[in-house]
Amino acid sequence: MDFSHLVVIAVSSIFINNFVLGRFLGICPFIGVSKKLESAVGMGMAVIFVMTLASIATYTVQKFILDPFGIQYLQTIAFILVIASLVQFIEMFMKKNMPSLYSALGIFLPLITTNCAVLGVAILNIDSSWADGTRYNFIESAWNGFTGGVGFTVALVLMAGIRERLELADLPESLKGLPIAFITSALIAMAFLGFSGMSIM
């Protein structure tokens, strides 16, 4: 169990290569759901949940179905179907067994199917490799999904906090709404750029 690998993945996915601010994955919900802090937290939690489970499920599919049969070209179809079904099952399961959680997160789940971050992390887990050429193993992939979701939530919560205050600010009419949201993201992304070059290996 290589704990240093896990630390590297965590720091990388949350700060250095943040999924939203560094990799541009998950922008639609990032802009769409970041107006209120509570909905941002709710969406974030849902995304962490789905990204972790999706990483586990897609890694399994790759290792036991796609690789052994040499049908890697079916990766896109297989992964997106796995993710879509996964989200469907989670929604049904939550509705029946965890109604309180469902009322908090349930509405976000259908949005997550088309979230680039989920499919993105699934593919990244398979494509990434360490310096010596080894690929991510099962634990590292699941952890990458989890920390990727955490990074997404961090960015989302930051955005929501700022946007709630921007509602009260005196902005030029033409910048209100989407434009100022993007400009704010630019500033946050600039701040996160400061993490690049952090020597963690």
Partner: protein
């Protein structure tokens, strides 16, 4: 509506990126150069036309309740074909677009058009609509990437403009090619469009 109107509505009035706010992820990620922007635009247009056509063709046979998964399978098939084609015949583009080629399958534009238009209209008009939306997407990508490439490196499409004109010393701000530049460019373009809209409204209101 007329064929011409169907085609051109996607260019500006209902531009998928700038007006409908769909497909934001690739718009920011691959617009580091005009070449990449055009490449992604054409790839997405190909997928869009292919999937809209097939979905419209099969719309009578697709059961209502499982239509979304079936749309996704059809779109994913086209995406995989484009991905394999690029890998085999235009490897440079495949490398620069990287992860975002398979991510075309979750591009909201494609699923959105399938749901909103292709599943309800004839094959021919779905094709035209898809072509128009694809061109609109490409226009938006070219717009964003020209700003980013020029401000970031001082060149357009690989040609260093200032150097060619004999003016040395323009370095460009690398920040524009990095993520903050993407967000900033998008914000400024959207701000400009909003300003334009408000100005038009004010003019009409004043009359």
């Amino acid at each position: 509506m007329s064929v011409m109107k169907n085609l051109t509505k996607g260019f500006f009035k209902e531009n998928p990126v700038l007006v409908l706010a769909l497909g934001l992820c690739p718009s920011l990620a691959v617009t580091t150069s005009i070449e990449n922007g055009i490449g992604m635009g054409l790839a997405a247009t190909a997928v869009l036309i292919g999937s809209s056509t097939i979905i419209s063709f099969l719309k009578k046979f697709i059961p209502e309740s499982i239509r979304i998964p079936i749309f996704i399978v059809i779109i994913a098939t086209f995406v995989t074909m484009i991905d394999l084609t690029l890998q085999a015949f235009i490897p440079a583009l495949s490398k620069s677009l990287g992860l975002f080629i398979p991510l075309i399958v979750v591009n909201c534009i494609i699923l959105g058009r399938a749901e909103a238009y292709a599943s309800k209209n004839s094959v021919f008009s779905s094709m035209i609509d898809a072509l128009g939306m694809g061109i609109g997407f490409t226009i938006a990508l070219v717009l964003i990437s020209s700003v980013r490439e020029f401000a970031g490196t001082g060149s357009l499409f690989g040609y260093p403009l200032f150097q060619l004109m004999g003016i040395e010393g323009f370095q460009g701000s690398i920040m524009m090619i990095l993520p903050p530049g993407g967000f900033l460019t998008m914000g400024l373009i959207l701000g400009f469009m909003q300003w334009n809209k408000l100005r038009k409204k004010a003019k009409e209101g004043g009359r």
